[in-house]
C-alpha cells in the first residue's frame, strides 16, 4: 500500500520534471493523464484505507530533508538580496538560524514521519481531483498567456510540483518535515505569484514570502518549545496530541495555529492572498481552492482535539469569527471579480478555522464540509474568472452586465458557483447552517464567545448573501429575451473542467444526505476521537443529539437553483413585452452593482486581527 502514498508524493514531482523536458504536445497528454492517475489513486486510497497509516521513511530521507531545508532557506536569503528586501532577509536569517539550531539539537527518535488518517485521505481527494482539474485548465490558459514557451512549461511544472508538496504536507507527521513542506509551499506561492515578473508581481510575491516566513518561524518556535519540554518526546503531531492531555502546554499548538492562520490569510496577513491575484488565474484557483489556504483548516483540524475548550480555541474562534465577518464585508466593497472571490475565501477560511477550533463533532463536520465544498466551488469560480478574463475581457463585476447575454453558460456557472458557496442547498450553505446549529447547540459551553460568534456568523452570512446578489444580479441583468438560450462554446479544455466541477458541486449537493453520515461523520470522528452516531430518521439527520431536517432542507432549497436556472430558459408565450420604466425618458441609464466602501476600516481590521494574533500566542504561553 505504501507505494501508493509514495506515488502520490513523488509522481507529481516526477511529472513536474518531465514537463520541463517534454514538448508542449506531449505535456498536454501527460498532465491530463497525471491528473487522472492522481485522482484515481486518491479515490482508491480513500476507499481502501480504513485505519490510520504511519509511514516511516529511510533514515537517508531525514538528511535529504535537512539538506533541502537549508538550501531552501538559503534561496530565500538570495531572494532577499536580489530584491533588496530587508524583511525577507531578516526572516530568512532567523529561519536559517532556527532551522540549523533545531537540526543540531533535535532528538532523532526513529518515529514515523508520515501519518495518514482519514483527514489526510480526504485532503488527498480534494487536492488531487480539484488541482488536477486546475492543471488541465491551466494547459489551455497558459497557452493564451503572453510569455515564452519555457515559462509556460515552468508554470505547469510548478503546479504539478505544488500538488506533490501539498500531498506531502497533509500527511506529514514529523514537525521538521512539516516545516520543510510548509516552506516549500511558501516557495511555490512565491514562484507562482511572481510568475509574470513585473513590478507588482514581484512586490506581491515578496509580500507573500515574508508573511509566510513568519508562519515558518512560528513552526520553528513550536518545534523548539517542544524540544525543551521534556513531556513531549516526539516532534510529531501525533506525539504532541497524545501528550497534551497530561501537560496542558499549549504554546506549540498556538504557534502552529499561528502558522496555519497565516497560510489561511487571516486578517492582518490577508494581503498576501489578495496580492496573489496578479498571477495567472489558475494560480489563484490553486491557492484559493484546494491547496495552500486549506492548510489552515487542515492544521487546526489536526490540533483541534488538543485545543478544544481551551482559551487558545476561544481566541482562534474570536479571531476567525471576526475575520469571517469583516472579510465578508470587505468582499462586498470590491468590484474586481477576483478580489471578491479572494475576500470570500478569506472569510470562509475564517469560518472553517472557527469551526475546527470549536471542535465539537458537528462543528468539525461542518468544517470538513466547508473545506470540501468551498474547494470545489471556489475552484470553479476562479476558473470561470479566468474564462471571463480571457474570453470576454472583463475584470470588474460592474462591467459584466452583458455577460448574461454574451456567455450565458459562464454566467450560469458563476451564479451556481456563488450559490454553492453562500446559499442553500449547496454544501457550503449546509456547512454554514450546521455551524449555526452546532455552535448554537453547544452554547452552554461557549457562552459569550459562542453568542458573539453566532452573531458574527449570522451577520456574516447575511453579508455573504448580499455579496451573492451583488454578483448574480449583474450576471442576470438583461434587457430583452431570446426565444431559446444558446450556450456559448469555449475551448474544450475550459469547458470540460467547468463541467467536471459543476458535476462535483451538484453531485455533492444531491449526495449530501449520503455523504454526511458516511463520509463526513467518520472523518470527524477520527479527528475528535469520539464516535459520532449519525442516523437518518424521517428525513432528519440525527447527529449525536442534534437533529437536522436535512432532506426537507434539500428538497425545499432545490427550488432555488432550479428556479434560477429555469428562469433563464423559460419563455412565456402570448404575453406582450414592454420596455422598462424610466420615468418616461428614453435614455439609457448607467447602473452596476452596489458596494460599500471599507477602505477606511481596513487599518482597523488589520490592527484588530494583529491584536488577536498576539493574544493567541500570549494565551498559548499562559497555560
Amino acid at each position: 500500500m505504501n507505494w501508493l502514498f509514495y506515488s502520490l508524493f513523488l509522481f507529481p514531482l516526477l511529472v513536474s520534471g518531465l514537463i520541463l523536458l517534454f514538448p508542449k504536445r506531449i505535456n498536454q497528454g501527460l498532465i491530463i493523464a497525471t491528473a487522472l492517475i492522481l485522482s484515481t489513486i486518491s479515490l482508491y486510497l480513500y476507499g481502501s484505507v480504513k485505519e490510520a497509516v504511519s509511514i516511516q521513511v529511510p533514515e537517508l530521507v531525514n538528511f535529504l530533508v535537512a539538506g533541502i531545508d537549508i538550501l531552501l532557506l538559503l534561496y530565500f536569503g538570495y531572494v532577499a538580496i536580489k530584491h533588496r528586501h530587508l524583511l525577507v532577509g531578516i526572516l530568512s536569517i532567523l529561519q536559517l538560524a532556527g532551522a540549523i539550531y533545531v537540526l543540531t539539537i533535535a532528538p532523532h527518535h526513529s518515529t514515523a514521519q508520515f501519518y495518514i488518517d482519514r483527514l489526510s485521505l480526504m485532503m488527498f481527494l480534494l487536492i488531487n481531483i480539484v488541482s488536477g482539474v486546475i492543471a488541465v485548465f491551466a494547459i489551455r490558459y497558459i497557452d493564451e498567456e503572453n510569455c515564452s514557451e519555457y515559462k509556460k512549461k515552468f508554470f505547469l511544472s510548478v503546479i504539478m510540483w505544488f500538488i506533490g508538496v501539498m500531498n506531502m504536507i497533509v500527511s506529514a507527521d514529523n514537525l521538521e518535515y512539516f516545516f520543510l513542506f510548509f516552506e516549500l509551499t511558501t516557495l511555490a506561492s512565491f514562484l507562482l505569484i511572481g510568475f509574470r515578473n513585473d513590478e507588482t508581481s514581484v512586490r506581491n510575491a515578496l509580500n507573500a514570502l515574508w508573511m509566510n516566513q513568519i508562519g515558518g518561524l512560528a513552526i520553528l518556535g513550536a518545534i523548539v518549545y517542544a524540544i525543551f519540554t521534556p513531556e513531549y518526546e516526539q516532534l510529531t503531531f501525533s506525539g504532541l496530541l497524545s501528550n497534551v492531555s497530561n501537560t496542558g502546554l499549549l504554546l506549540p499548538f498556538a504557534l502552529l495555529a499561528v502558522a496555519a492562520l497565516i497560510k489561511g490569510a487571516q486578517m492582518p496577513f490577508s494581503s498576501w492572498l489578495l496580492g496573489a491575484m496578479v498571477a495567472p488565474t489558475p494560480v489563484s484557483a490553486l491557492l484559493h481552492s484546494s491547496t495552500m489556504v486549506k492548510i489552515a483548516p487542515f492544521v487546526i483540524l489536526r490540533i483541534s482535539p488538543a485545543i478544544k475548550d481551551t482559551n487558545v480555541a476561544t481566541v482562534i474562534m474570536l479571531l476567525t469569527g471576526f475575520v469571517f465577518l469583516v472579510a465578508a464585508i470587505s468582499a462586498l466593497s470590491q468590484d474586481t471579480f477576483k478580489r471578491i472571490l479572494a475576500y470570500s475565501t478569506i472569510s470562509l477560511l475564517g469560518l472553517m478555522c472557527m469551526l475546527a477550533a470549536a471542535g465539537t463533532e458537528t462543528a468539525i463536520m461542518a468544517a470538513l464540509m466547508l473545506v470540501i465544498f468551498h474547494g470545489i466551488s471556489k475552484c470553479m469560480l476562479f476558473l470561470n474568472a479566468g474564462i471571463i478574463e480571457h474570453v470576454y475581457h472583463y475584470k470588474q463585476t460592474s462591467q459584466m452586465d452583458r455577460l448574461g447575454e454574451l456567455g450565458p453558460f459562464t454566467a450560469l456557472a458563476v451564479a451556481i458557483g456563488f450559490m454553492s458557496l453562500l446559499l442553500p442547498p449547496f454544501g457550503g450553505f449546509i456547512g454554514k447552517w450546521f455551524s449555526i446549529e452546532s455552535i448554537g447547540s453547544s452554547l452552554p459551553t461557549f457562552k459569550l464567545t459562542g453568542a458573539l460568534i453566532i452573531a458574527a456568523i449570522a451577520i456574516g452570512g447575511a453579508v455573504m448573501a448580499l455579496l451573492y446578489f451583488k454578483v448574480t444580479g449583474v450576471l442576470f441583468s438583461r434587457s430583452g429575451e431570446q426565444e431559446v438560450i444558446r450556450f456559448e462554446k469555449t475551448h474544450p479544455l475550459y469547458q470540460s473542467s467547468i463541467y467536471i466541477l459543476l458535476f462535483l458541486i451538484i453531485g455533492g449537493m444531491l449526495a449530501l444526505p449520503v455523504l454526511l453520515p458516511s463520509f463526513f461523520a467518520p472523518i470527524a470522528s477520527t479527528i475528535t476521537q469520539v464516535s459520532i452516531s449519525s442516523v437518518f430518521k424521517g428525513g432528519s439527520l440525527y447527529i449525536n443529539n442534534l437533529s437536522l431536517p436535512i432532506i426537507p432542507m434539500l428538497i425545499a432549497f432545490l427550488v432555488l437553483p432550479v428556479t434560477i436556472i429555469l428562469s433563464l430558459f423559460i419563455h412565456f408565450k402570448g404575453v406582450d413585452r414592454v420596455k422598462e420604466y424610466t420615468c418616461g425618458e428614453k435614455v439609457d441609464y448607467r447602473f452596476s452593482s452596489l458596494y460599500f466602501s471599507t477602505e477606511k476600516a481596513m487599518p482597523f481590521y488589520i490592527v484588530v486581527g494583529g491584536i488577536f494574533f498576539v493574544a493567541l500566542v500570549f494565551v498559548g504561553g499562559m497555560l
Binding site: Y581, C583, G584, K586
Partner: protein, 172 residues
C-alpha cells in the same frame, strides 16, 4: 364576466403633468388628502404606469412632454382610461395654439374623459373619475389609436390669425 365589476372598485391612478400650471395637479393632490380621500374608491396613486388603470393628465402637452406622455401611456396595460384634468389638458385652454404645445391631450393619445375647469375642483375630478370608471368597466384589452386632429391646417398660408380664429392648431 362578472370580474369586470372589480375594475371599478380598484382604479389605480397615474398622474402625469404634461406642462400644466400645477393648478390642476394640486387639485389632484387634494383629492388624495383626507378631505376628499379618493382611496375610498380604492384609488391608489401608484406612480408606476405598469400598475395603473387610470392616467390623469394635466396640462396642454408641451413639445418636450409629448414623447414622455406617449411612452408612459404605452407602458400602461389595457384596459386603461385616460382622464385629462383641466381645460388646458382637454383643449389647450388658454394655451391653445401657443407655439410649444400640442393643444390638448387627445391630439397625442386617446382620451376618454375630459374634466373642464381651470382649475378643476377636486369634486369635478371625482366626477370625472366616476365617469371614467363606467368606461373602464366596458373597456376591452384592445389597443386604441389616438385621434389625430380632424381638420388640421396643412398649409402655412391657410393659418388664420389666432385672434380672429381661436382654436386652431398651428402647423407643425
Amino acid at each position: 364576466m362578472e370580474l369586470k365589476l372589480y375594475r371599478k372598485k380598484s382604479p389605480w391612478i397615474l398622474h402625469y403633468n404634461a406642462g400644466s400650471c400645477n393648478g390642476c395637479d394640486i387639485e389632484i393632490l387634494a383629492c388624495l388628502s383626507p378631505k376628499y380621500d379618493v382611496e375610498r374608491f380604492g384609488m391608489i396613486n401608484t406612480g408606476n404606469p405598469k400598475q395603473s388603470d387610470i392616467l390623469l393628465i394635466t396640462g396642454p402637452v408641451t413639445k418636450r412632454s409629448r414623447e414622455r406622455l406617449v411612452e408612459i401611456y404605452s407602458q400602461m396595460p389595457e384596459p386603461k382610461v385616460v382622464i385629462c384634468c383641466g381645460s388646458c389638458a382637454s383643449t389647450g385652454g388658454v394655451f391653445r395654439d401657443m407655439y410649444n404645445i400640442e393643444g390638448g391631450v387627445d391630439q397625442v393619445i386617446p382620451v376618454d374623459v375630459y374634466v373642464p375647469g381651470c382649475a378643476c375642483r377636486p369634486e369635478q375630478i371625482i366626477d370625472g373619475v366616476v365617469a371614467a370608471l363606467e368606461i373602464l368597466e366596458k373597456k376591452t384589452k384592445a389597443i386604441e389609436k389616438p385621434l389625430r386632429y380632424a381638420n388640421e391646417v396643412k398649409d402655412e398660408n391657410d393659418q388664420i390669425n389666432r385672434r380672429t380664429m381661436p382654436g386652431t392648431i398651428p402647423t407643425k
